[in-house]
């Protein structure tokens, strides 16, 4: 049994598919003509990335063993830059229309074959160098875009070191029934995607990729954070019962779906869903979402080599707007950078991508890209109730500049007599400490705030949430974080604008209780979490939640606040605490 971090609740029992061991099973489908250019671009990008990897190794070897030992890597680098090799791969991709991994592997094999026939011992040894470089490139090529996830024949549990946004974007629900990864935390990308797809997941297992192989049977317990490898029949039996119980509780909560999310003392609280793909809409509706509080638009841009056109975006936004009407849908404008990169936009590698050229900063620098998205949103706004939200705002100027662009586009549409919603609301995401501290000023420029807690916590506590060594410091209940949140809500209310939250924090019952008490107007979360938060809201009085939040703000540490809030949830909503949080609470109290 392995213990990791529970990332998405639920239980999965099934066969393992190890992503990392499949790296040389190259895809052999014929690619459409339109994708050829993208394949070649992908190849060149992989060469660039491999080059960086090799340079790092070379530097280390030079430092540790001296220049002479490092010189052989010059030959590796030359293989990467070799015009003959690159031209051959490019020409074959164009001619055969096969994925670049496939062609590259063949070309490398051909060279290895040529060298192995040479009557020269020294040259024969060079085969290992070519093989080494070739494998490295293939690893980069296939590690980035694991096409295997797209064509699964039976439901599988994915075991991998980590999952990138491009990996998860390709997952088809029903084909992947569980995740188990070596690294990651509760708010890592894998966890967020798993929750939104309602796939049980355990992350941070450290070395599960070394302990399992394809075809092993595993149980993923996403409630307790456990993984069993080739368990006994007894354990499987026990877990089948457990799985059934969990699913029944979920169904019970689902009965709340048509009931209003109203506190016991009659205050209506908004409850919305976060989505990445339009395919998630049926699940949002089934879970009783009052709207979409966060539509992450960048997934529309991923896993393709060109940029989405205005028409494509327009149709997608229109579909979402229509399906959710009369409820509102908040589209977050392109939020790339950080851990989300798009190969078609040539974004340079940065030392600190989370502090770098990303989100609104990128969009304002590339109005050509930004305007296409804004125009598509405006045009789709007549088909429902769309709202626009700018990510990573760090000051008033950015909102003003973005609004200026938006106003120009509105003027253009009016001139061309293309209809759009004149009353479309614009909001700012509050996810930097500077935005939180200047909310009174930002409130003059926008109609709503949405607090993005994942980034707000990482920026205000100065913690990289993907770094396992300091993950323990990542605390949503840190008094500093709670005070910032309170300040944002209070400033919003003083200016008569509403304040929502679209971070994962809103979906944890104990945190949600505190946020309710702090006055949050709308909670937005992965669809699967909605019933339990709705259940919480319907089980407490707003006046009690306010008292609880007030007391929590007087406590000195994140841990004390968390334990206090968990205890209050257990006291006020015992059934909720019993099923999904008993384990977590006991662990906290015992620590």
């Amino acid at each position: 049994m392995l213990r990791g971090i529970p990332a998405s609740p639920g239980i999965a029992i099934g066969k393992v598919l190890c992503l990392d061991s499949e790296e040389f099973t190259v895809p052999d489908r014929v690619i459409p003509k339109g994708e050829v250019k993208g394949e070649i671009q992908r190849f060149k990008k992989a060469l660039g990335q491999t080059r960086k990897e090799i340079l790092l190794i070379q530097n280390r070897i030079t430092r540790e063993m001296g220049r002479g030992h490092a010189e052989i890597f010059n030959a590796h680098l030359l293989v990467l830059e070799d015009t003959m090799l690159i031209d051959e791969v490019v020409a074959q991709v164009e001619k055969q229309r096969l994925p670049v991994e496939n062609v590259f592997l063949k070309v490398i094999k051909k060279y290895i074959n040529v060298f192995s026939k040479m009557d020269d011992e020294y040259l024969k040894e060079r085969i290992s160098d070519i093989d080494d470089v070739g494998k490295r490139v293939l690893r980069v090529l296939m590690g980035k875009e694991r096409k295997t996830l797209q064509n699964l024949k039976e439901p599988m549990i994915i075991v991998s070191y980590d999952l990138s946004p491009s990996d998860t974007a390709m997952i088809q629900k029903g084909h992947v029934i569980g995740f188990a990864t070596d690294i990651g935390g509760r708010t890592s990308h894998t966890a967020i995607m798993a929750k939104s797809l309602e796939i049980p997941a355990v992350v941070g297992l450290e070395d599960i990729t070394k302990r399992t192989k394809n075809g092993d049977t595993v149980i993923v317990d996403g409630i307790k954070g456990l993984v069993f490898i080739n368990p006994t029949e007894d354990i499987i039996k026990k877990y089948r019962v457990e799985k059934k119980r969990f699913e029944e509780f979920g169904r019970d909560l689902l009965k709340l779906k048509d009931l209003p999310s109203k506190t016991l003392d009659g205050h209506r609280i908004g409850i919305a869903a976060n989505i990445e793909l339009p395919e998630e809409l049926p699940s949002c509706i089934a879970h009783g979402a009052d709207g979409i509080g966060l539509y992450r638009s960048e997934y529309f841009y991923m896993n393709r080599s060109d940029l989405p056109t205005e028409e494509e975006q327009y149709h997608a936004y229109k579909l979402v707007a229509k399906q959710m009407a009369p409820h509102s849908v908040i589209i977050r404008t392109l939020d790339l950078g950080g851990d989300k990169f798009l190969s078609q936009l040539d974004i340079p590698h940065e030392m600190n991508p989370f502090l770098g050229w990303r989100a609104i900063r990128f969009c304002l620098a590339r109005p050509d890209v930004f305007k296409i998205q804004l125009r598509a949103i405006l045009r789709a706004s007549v088909d429902g109730k769309l709202k626009i939200m700018y990510p990573l705002i760090s000051g008033v100027e950015e909102v003003q500049q973005a609004n200026k662009l938006l106003n120009e586009l509105k003027e253009e549409l009016r001139r061309k007599r293309i209809p759009f919603d004149e009353a479309i609301e614009v909001g700012a995401m509050i996810e930097t400490p500077s935005a939180a501290m200047t909310c009174d000023l930002l409130a003059k420029e926008v109609k709503f705030f949405s607090i993005g807690t994942n980034d707000l916590i990482q920026y205000s506590l100065a913690i990289d949430r993907a770094n396992e060594r300091i993950a323990y410091l990542y605390a949503p209940t840190h008094p500093g974080v709670l005070r910032l949140i309170k300040q944002v809500i209070d400033a919003g209310h003083r200016s008569n604008i509403w304040v929502g939250m679209c971070g994962e924090m809103a979906s944890e019952p104990s945190f949600a209780l505190l946020l309710l008490g702090l006055g949050l107007d709308e909670f937005s979360m992965s669809a699967g979490s909605i019933p339990k938060v709705k259940h919480l809201i319907r089980s407490v009085k707003l006046s009690d939640a306010q008292k609880i939040a007030e007391h929590a703000l007087t406590l000195p540490t994140a841990k004390e606040i968390e334990i206090y809030a968990l205890a209050k949830v257990k006291e006020l909503v015992p059934d909720l605490a019993d099923v999904s949080y008993a384990e977590g609470l006991e662990k906290k109290v015992n620590e």
Binding site: L78, V79, M84, Y111, Y122
Partner: protein
């Protein structure tokens, strides 16, 4: 080629690196086969061992400079 290793991995790498500093086309010919002097795979495929006889053709604006520099490398600097 007089050096012990011929034009193999490390010497070949030095040769190709130097060749890439020039804009001229550089072709290396051994017997009936030839390869671009800017391609490590090409050079390695020629299997230039000790005692091999090769011909080098530089064609372009800086051909003369390229030819001198590469010749110097082959004859003197590689050992």
């Amino acid at each position: 080629m007089q050096n012990d290793q011929g034009l193999h991995a490390r010497p070949a790498a030095l040769f190709v690196q130097l060749a890439n500093r020039f804009s001229s086309n550089i072709t290396v010919r051994k017997g009936r086969r030839e390869a671009s002097g800017k391609s490590i795979m090409g050079i390695l495929t020629l299997a230039i061992g000790k005692g091999s006889q090769v011909e080098m053709i530089c064609d372009g604006e800086d051909a003369e400079k390229a030819c001198h520099a590469l010749e110097k490398l082959l004859l003197k600097e590689l050992e």
